[in-house]
């Protein structure tokens, strides 16, 4: 992990209209280049809101965010060229084929022509989807669509990737392929910000995690070190439950 800061969040606050409680409450965070950073928390903790602000989809009420030295308030268009987003929902056009989907998304990142076509086929091959390249996404299984969803967010080789629960509801084989790929691209220099409800996955994948609850960061650090600091908790999941409580959260 590098010591160069690629994402700096300073006293970020977001309050939705009609809400009394802030969705995120003055959080500050530095994320380093080449790290896999996990953003963990129960439902309604503020993870997706944080991610949405980092992607430029929401405007914060106060605070600043910079990505690779660029302020999101003034350089959003340049930032969008550097980042990739893999949303929790499968954000694809089901009536288009995999190639048609990826061609369109690649075009939006200024990729085109033969370079784009070759890149698409190469990525489809890595994820075992090249045989289904010309089939409509509506015919894909859950695991296949998740893999394609991931490809769409990474096609342009972004510097920073935001993944919102990329492995939810898929088969084990697809999950392993995705996680292995993420580790590969991270080694090649891509910074990954990752939200998940799967603590074991975060513990194994992430170099650092931040545990959020009710819009605040309540703990941050290397997963192993966090568990070591609290030896009464055998793993990250138990630590997480201790910090956030066992009550059900419905967002």
């Amino acid at each position: 992990m590098s010591d160069q800061i690629i994402i700096r969040i300073k006293e970020l606050t977001k309050i939705y209209k009609g809400s009394e409680e802030p969705a995120i409450n003055s959080i500050s965070l530095d994320i380093y280049k080449d790290e896999i950073f996990g953003l963990l928390g129960p439902n309604g903790a503020g993870k997706t809101t944080t991610l949405s602000i980092l992607c430029g989809l929401f405007t914060p009420n106060s605070g600043t965010v910079s990505i690779d030295g660029l302020d999101t308030r003034s350089h959003l268009h340049e930032i969008k060229q550097l980042i990739g987003v893999v949303p929790q929902e499968v954000a694809l056009y089901p009536t288009l084929t995999a190639v048609e989907n990826l061609t369109f998304f690649g075009n939006m990142y200024n990729l085109k022509g033969r370079f784009l076509r070759e890149k698409i086929m190469e990525r489809l091959k890595v994820f075992g989807l090249e045989r289904f390249a010309k089939k409509k996404v509506s015919t894909y299984s859950g695991g296949m669509t998740r893999r394609l969803n991931l490809i769409a967010g990474l096609l342009h080789d972004p510097k920073v990737v935001f993944l919102d629960e990329p492995t939810v509801g898929i088969d084990v084989q697809s999950r392993i392929v995705i996680l292995n790929y993420l580790q590969e691209i991270n080694k090649a220099g891509t910074t990954i910000i990752y939200t998940s409800h799967y603590m074991e996955e975060a513990e194994n994948l992430c170099s650092r995690v931040a545990i959020m609850d009710r819009g605040r960061i309540i703990s941050i650090g290397n997963p192993k070190e966090l568990v070591d600091e609290h030896p009464e908790f055998k793993n990250l999941e138990n630590l997480f439950l201790a910090l956030t409580g066992k009550d059900l959260r419905d967002g």
Partner: protein, 433 residues
């Protein structure tokens, strides 16, 4: 610019894969144009020979009036006269029963003695007239009186539309009045000859003092007779263009619901560019619809023996009104797609609102048949503005200057609906949390 074109290509692909949407946009309106033109032509028009109306005819008079009415109706190209059923002559009761059961739509019953009544009344009129010359003894006219008018009964099936009923009654009345007048003059002549043997009655040809001529003022140098095609083709074309609401709102909402919009907004492309691409594709689809419908009117309707839609040299005004109608339809779809939160909401509201605006606008029923208050309300329907624009071109032979008011209203509607969509989107985030 490149991203705009890429987005257009995406929209086109999505539309081509939406078969139900394509059917709504192209097949439904063509079917409507053909079917509605056929129905209206069969009802009252050039397909008369294959679909004349059967009238049960009961002639209890069996004299001049009854025979002449029968002759007049038989010579008409609109009716087939039936005076017997299963070889038996029809009576009034049989006719009433047949119409009641729905076997026949219309029956005409001429009462017994109606010709005699007319002759008697004519004699009374002649005597009264000549008595004024002092040709009769005093008091001779005191014992003379008019016979009570007999009634010709026309029986109608209750399901018949009142407009059709009125047309049939008018036709029958026209025959009876003409025959009655001819009889009066003839009888008058005969009565004078009877009372004054030296009078040699000349042969008088009955001629109508008044004739009627139909004219259709227009901007054309040469007047043309209007036909139903000039209403049907533009009316159903406009209806179809506004139905772009269904696939357009579906496209907008699906992107929100399926999460594609989330991804798109995180990409280095502006929402405005994406929306512009969507609008550009649907705008072209609208124009294509319009072109296909007009071509249907020109080349397909004549295959069904329906008059051809003639556009003459009015291509440019047609293009202007088509563009402004397409933009208005687009704006309307954009507005509904922005406000509606689900596909079901958008589809239900979109389709019902178009049907209502179409009914208000004169697509289904001509505006002049509506009550005053409804005619005022109709003037606020964009479909009404578009229809009037097309009428100015097809029925009145107008040019661009004559469709300017309707064109400006449609463009203003487009601007207002787009502005509303932009402002609404600013207030409500399009991203589904």
């Amino acid at each position: 610019m490149l991203k705009f074109l890429y987005a257009c290509r995406k929209e086109l692909l999505l539309l081509l894969r939406d078969r139900a949407g394509l059917a709504v946009l192209f097949i439904m309106p063509m079917a409507l144009i053909i079917l509605m033109s056929l129905f209206q032509e069969i009802g009252w028009g050039t397909l008369v020979m294959e679909s004349r109306i059967k009238i049960l005819f009961v002639n209890n008079d069996k004299d001049t009036l009854g025979l002449n009415i029968e002759k007049g109706l038989r010579s008409s190209s609109y009716f087939i006269i039936i005076d017997s059923i299963n070889g038996k002559p029809i009576t009034k009761e049989v006719a009433r029963d047949a119409v009641k059961k729905g076997n026949y739509l219309i029956a005409v019953v001429i009462p017994d003695g109606v010709t005699k009544s007319i002759r008697t009344n004519v004699r009374v009129m002649v005597t009264n007239t000549l008595a004024g010359f002092g040709m009769y003894k005093q008091g001779i006219t005191n014992n003379l009186s008019f016979k009570q008018t007999d009634t010709v009964t026309i029986l109608f099936d209750p399901t018949i539309r009142s407009s059709f009923k009125s047309a049939v009654v008018s036709s029958i009345k026209e025959y009876t009045y003409r025959i009655e007048n001819e009889m009066m003059f003839g009888t008058f002549n005969q009565e004078i000859a009877r009372q004054f043997p030296m009078y040699k009655p000349p042969k008088i040809d009955y001629r109508e003092a008044l004739t009627f001529r139909e004219e259709f003022p227009s901007y054309r140098l040469v007047e043309k007779m209007p036909n139903t095609v000039q209403h049907n083709v533009p009316a159903w074309t406009i209806f179809a263009m506004f139905f772009i609401v269904i696939p357009l709102t579906g496209s907008l909402i699906k992107e929100r619901e399926e999460g594609s919009l989330f991804r798109l907004l995180s990409m280095p492309v502006s929402y405005a560019e994406l929306m512009l691409a969507k609008c550009a594709v649907y705008f072209l689809v609208c124009l294509l619809q319009c072109a296909l419908m007009i071509l249907s009117g020109m080349y397909i309707l004549p295959l069904f023996h329906i008059p051809m839609l003639e556009i003459g040299n009015q291509f440019f005004p047609i293009l202007v009104i088509s563009i402004s109608t397409a933009l208005a339809a687009l704006g309307f779809g954009l507005m509904i797609g922005t406000v509606a939160t689900t596909n079901q909401q958008a589809a239900a509201f979109g389709s019902v609102s178009i049907v209502i605006l179409g009914a208000m606008g004169g697509i289904w029923v001509p505006i002049f048949l509506m009550p005053d208050i409804m005619q005022q309300i109709a003037s606020y329907s964009p479909l009404n503005w578009a229809l009037h624009g097309f009428y100015s071109i097809f029925l009145r032979g107008g040019g661009v200057i004559h469709i300017l008011p309707q064109t400006l209203k449609l463009l203003l509607f487009f601007v207002v609906t787009v502005l509303f969509s932009i402002i609404y989107r600013q207030i409500k985030s399009p991203i589904k949390k």
